[in-house]
């Protein structure tokens, strides 16, 4: 019996090890001097976009010979706070992370500040009253992405559209900001209105389920356009439209954000009209900033990632270049 318990607890350790997925991707590659170590807490691996984002960071760390402690929060803030505390305990030189949600970071960021470790935010911002809690924020400008999506839609439809909106995870920065930017531009076009808005949680399954429900509402026939806060929800919604006998891309004009490979494939098939790029390949920019922080150089508070807008006319040419 005792042996069995020992065996099972060993298995528990082994299994929970692979659940946590905290891995050191690269070891310092020789060279004199003290090697730099960076702790990075990723939101999860919820989409192809996120995976490409993680990969870009891991690749760049390896290239520069920086020791990267990479931790996956699996969409939970509590996991992320745990990871940040473990980075303090491991005494890394710089902590970088993509916050799962905007709020609730003050206490743990104070702890990091007291430990004297600089913090760089990537991809999503945090809502804190003390600006000294982080050095810089590298990421896409979600408000601008929302504006671009709305502007493209306004140009395409001549300023006339009845829009259904698939919102991201409630309370997350991209969902709040993309909605804000989109509505900002919409205010200039009196004939463009959001007639339905519901959260699809940034996932395909929910995007599909919510779109099905939109299409069954009595005013479903009025919907002429769909704005999805990410490509995955748009891809789910496209399935729902096809099953309901509505032609995606022609009967309903679809614009989404991210620019993942599957979205480009959908565009070349004529099912998606436009995607506003949200570039995940931030590795080089992140480690440039880490170098600058460690050299005590001044950094801008906000570093914006280079991004484009792609519609069907550019999709076929761009598809082979898509890494994610």
């Amino acid at each position: 019996m005792k042996k069995l318990i020992l065996l099972s607890s060993a298995l528990v350790v082994a299994l929970s090890g692979c659940g946590k997925k905290e891995t050191s991707t690269s070891e310092p590659s020789g060279g004199g001097g003290k090697s730099v170590s960076v702790g990075f807490s990723q939101i999860g691996a919820e989409s192809a976009w996120r995976t490409a984002n993680s990969q870009s960071i891991k690749d760049e760390a390896q290239k520069r010979g920086i020791k990267l402690v990479f931790s996956d929060a699996q969409q939970k803030q509590e996991n992320q706070i745990k990871a940040l505390r473990s980075f303090i305990a491991q005494n890394v030189d710089v902590i970088a992370f993509s916050p799962v949600v905007e709020t609730g970071w003050e206490p743990v960021l104070q702890e990091i500040k007291q430990a004297g470790i600089p913090v760089i935010l990537t991809d999503r911002a945090v809502d804190v009253s003390d600006p000294s809690l982080y050095a810089t924020f590298i990421g896409s400008d979600f408000v601008e992405e929302g504006r671009r999506a709305a502007q493209w839609l306004a140009d395409k439809t001549g300023g006339k559209a009845q829009i259904a909106e698939l919102v991201g995870t409630p309370g997350s920065a991209p969902a709040l900001d993309r909605k804000k930017g989109f509505e900002e531009v919409l205010a200039k076009y009196p004939d463009m209105k959001i007639i339905k808005s519901q959260s699809g949680d940034f996932t395909r399954a929910k995007g599909k389920e919510v779109m099905e429900s939109f299409l069954k509402a009595p005013d479903a026939k009025q919907i002429t356009a769909l704005f999805a806060h990410n490509d995955d929800m748009a891809l789910g919604a496209i399935q729902a439209m096809e099953e309901a006998g509505v032609k995606p891309g022609s009967e309903i004009t679809i614009v989404s954000i991210d620019g993942v490979k599957a979205a480009f494939e959908a565009m070349t098939a004529g099912k998606l009209n436009c995607t506003v790029e949200c570039n995940p390949l931030i590795g080089p920019q992140l480690f440039d900033s880490i170098d600058a922080v460690l050299a005590k150089k001044d950094l801008p508070r906000r570093i914006v990632v280079q991004e484009g807008v792609f519609d069907q006319s550019k999709a076929a040419a761009e598809l082979p270049n898509r890494k994610y």
């Binding site: 929970s16 692979c18 999860g44 399954a205 009595p218």
Partner: protein, 364 residues
């Protein structure tokens, strides 16, 4: 609201309520009826049904289709809970099954091989839970927590962190196909329900499960192989979760290791509890769990149909669930009926709550 289909629907439902008036399933059915009635009156188009491309199309069909996943999971969960345990790993097992299915399909396995492979893996995962609980005697919550945490990691390992797409027509049919005008998922649920019912109520297995859940030691002295009974329950729960995982993956034609079956264990436990099965084990109600799952999905779909913002949607959901759980409890029902003539029950509730609150503060 007054056309012939509506009237016949409500007559059938009223008859159902009448025939179950002395049974436990009455309460979840009553809650479901009230929720549907609310939608029939206040949500335009909720009851619209039409024929499109040879199958039924409408919000009610959506409820059956999407509720199928929780129904499948809750059937297995019912038996596990009946033995006095709980299986927290079903969501993770769903993710693993979906990942195996997609990976096999992408590697050009025939769809049936892929499905059998995915179901075998979920059986193995269920057996692992069973081994820990029945074989070694670990607390069910702890034992299944292991796979709940690790399983999603395993699923991500299989998919290499990507969303894997597949296009095989057979695999897509599982969640998107229609049989006799109804979603194929319904057939799947009905078959599994019939098999489970026949196995548990047609043989002594159901009685064994109840006796083990009621009193493990006493049933062992009475000659029931309680370890084996528990083991079988967990294996079955794994199988059900695997099946649900196939449906979830098929629905979006891809395996999304991160989101497939996320919080499915909680939905399933809720469905089982709403259905009248006690978490302490002993009695179980398979049909009750199905009605519970239907109620949960109806609530979710109601939120979409009424355009309730996702920020506040959990509040009305929670209120309905609390109401159903109170209806379920004999004690609460007696309490309310006793209090009703003199005092308002909700007022009494808040009174006890505020009375309890300072105590908590003092303790902390």
């Amino acid at each position: 609201m007054f056309n012939i289909t509506h009237i016949s629907f409500w007559i059938v439902f009223a008859a159902l309520l009448f025939f179950t008036r002395k049974q436990r399933i009455l309460w979840p059915l009553l809650a479901l009826a009230l929720l549907l009635l609310f939608n029939d009156i206040f949500t335009p188009g909720f009851f619209n049904l039409e024929l499109r491309e040879g199958h039924l199309y409408g919000t009610l069909i959506d409820i059956l289709k999407h509720g199928g996943i929780v129904m499948l999971v809750s059937l297995g969960m019912t038996l596990v809970i009946a033995t006095g345990g709980v299986d927290l790993s079903v969501g993770a097992v769903m993710a693993v099954a979906g990942a195996v299915l997609a990976q096999a399909a992408i590697n050009h396995q025939s769809p049936f091989v892929a499905m059998i492979f995915a179901l075998l893996v979920s059986l193995v995962l269920g057996a692992w839970n069973g081994l820990l609980v029945a074989g070694i005697g670990i607390q069910p919550i702890v034992a299944t927590l292991i796979l709940m945490v690790a399983g999603r990691g395993v699923a991500q390992l299989i998919t290499e962190g990507q969303i894997l797409n597949f296009t095989d027509a057979t695999l897509v049919y599982i969640a998107n196909g229609y049989l006799l005008g109804m979603p194929f998922t319904c057939t799947l649920v009905l078959v599994l329900l019939a098999v489970t019912y026949a196995l548990t109520r047609g043989t002594a297995l159901g009685l064994f499960i109840e006796s083990v859940g009621d009193n493990d030691i006493a049933s062992r002295y009475a000659g029931v192989n309680s370890r084996f009974v528990k083991f079988i329950a967990y294996v079955f729960a794994g199988f059900c979760a695997g099946l649900a995982g196939l449906v979830a993956a098929s629905n979006i034609k891809s395996a999304d290791a991160n989101h497939a079956g996320l919080y499915a264990e909680l939905d399933a436990i809720l469905a089982v509890v709403i259905g009248g099965t006690a978490l302490t084990g002993g009695r179980f109600y398979l049909l009750g769990s199905i009605v519970g799952a239907l109620l949960i999905q109806t609530l979710t779909t109601t939120m979409y149909a009424r355009n309730v913002s996702a920020d506040i949607a959990p509040v009305p959901k929670a209120l309905v669930v609390i109401a159903v759980c109170l209806l379920q409890s004999d004690k609460a029902r007696r309490y309310f009926t006793r209090l009703f003539p003199r005092r308002n029950p909700p007022a009494a509730m808040t009174e006890t709550l505020t009375a309890a609150a300072p105590k908590v503060e003092a303790g902390s």
